[in-house]
Symmetry: C2
Subunit: 304 residues, 2 copies
Amino acid sequence: MPDKFPLAVIGTVAIDEVETPFGKREKAFGGSASYFSYAASFFSPVSVVAVVGKDFPAEFLNILKERPIDLSHLEKSDGKTFFWRGRYRYDMNAAETLETQLNVLTEFNPKLRFSSPPEFVFLANIDPTLQEKVLNQAAKPRTRFVACDTMNYWIENKRPELLKVLARVDGIVINENEARELAGEPSLIRAAQKIHGWGPSKVIIKKGEHGVILFDEGKFFILPAYPLESVFDPTGAGDTFAGALMGYLAKTGDFGFENLKKAVAYGTIVASFTVEDFSLDRLQRLETREIEERLGIFRKICSF
Amino acid sequence: MPDKFPLAVIGTVAIDEVETPFGKREKAFGGSASYFSYAASFFSPVSVVAVVGKDFPAEFLNILKERPIDLSHLEKSDGKTFFWRGRYRYDMNAAETLETQLNVLTEFNPKLRFSSPPEFVFLANIDPTLQEKVLNQAAKPRTRFVACDTMNYWIENKRPELLKVLARVDGIVINENEARELAGEPSLIRAAQKIHGWGPSKVIIKKGEHGVILFDEGKFFILPAYPLESVFDPTGAGDTFAGALMGYLAKTGDFGFENLKKAVAYGTIVASFTVEDFSLDRLQRLETREIEERLGIFRKICSF
């Protein structure tokens, strides 16, 4: 394990209960920071800033520990771990949230104690107030590139706080419907331009099975999703995408447009594995060779 | 005007009434064969097999006559022209049909009298019984490549007739929801494989603003839509796509996989112009130079 981490993520490490048309898992390892860090670890060491409760299973932590993932910023609090219960029906693009228990997340007060601060930081989908706390501690110029995610709940209930975060990040990775809602614009292209106007120079809009759009100060790039015969469980696809993307940026140290396109392609490919099984199961069996193979196939599928 | 037409389309030449969030047009030139032939004419001469009523405006016909479009198979019948009234709301991907009057289409009995039969034939979205009549007259080997379109109405009400057509065509160009319904398969990849099993070696699935998927006997190709800031009127986008695609195939005489990919890209680009204005208005102002320019931009947007 290196003592320097080029990449850090703040987000959730969670216990999920997931039901899809293909099955149900009652105690699944989940959370944005879990998917993110596991995906990123194929490209770069990564540090997780998060909190779990006393009930958090050791075997879940061991899954992360087997990778170049630093857990020295993973707090263990009294109380229960963040819990999410959701269901997918016919349309695997839309999760139906049945229950959310914030639990230990309510009192979470992240403190960054890196001897050498990460150059790349990802603020996964959590309360913008927490995202701002991390931003305050990850001051530029030491941090070279900060990106964030968010969701409809924060857009509707903490808009001023979210806009303050947006003004300070370099990139945002966001779902298409959230982009539309945030910008108040049905057109994704105009939504991206509007969000760009609020701060982030790179706006990355995830469209699930329909792929992704990247805007980078006037230039843009569109990529379909990797075609799969069947999607087993979409949970974590977006966080996996962001993790592989940021991991690739951290590995290469380059967030220019051409390299960003490659990062988006890697994000797409690693996410296409995540959805093939419950939880992080497919990622745990994933080899770097498979990522490169699928990327090669994908290139052929998309080029004309 | 050449006396030999490498490409023919059977479909509708119609009068539309269209309402979008941006405006309304009460007497718009429409119909699948109109959009198809106009789009194809940028690449190849094309012959229209269709019927209109006595009420059909001469100025609409003049729009086609200005292009290398042969109207010698456009019948003029007693009665009124096929009429479609539709509306688009917030979601420009889904047209709401308010009224359909078949009118002269009810008695239409297409007769092909080509001295030199077209090598490429497109059976646009009409009654599969009519599609079959054309197939019976456009016998192979003289016709090298036949493709068809269809819609939910025929899938639900004339399935046996439709399956007979499918067994005899080389390609199908179909919307994603119709592909799902036809195959009884939520996964587009599996739907395409199933449809391929019923006949067509090339299955092309249109996903509107999300692009297109091409399946060609095990190989596949995915292309996003050309990104537009705003879509003014989506009517005719699918027929334009098919027209430019078939026009490019007829021009090059090559329906191998690599050339088919290019044809799909041209279809995407020409359709992106159609939706920028009502009816065929934008196509009428379109220049070949603009098609090539936008294709160049599109290539950059999609490559990584």
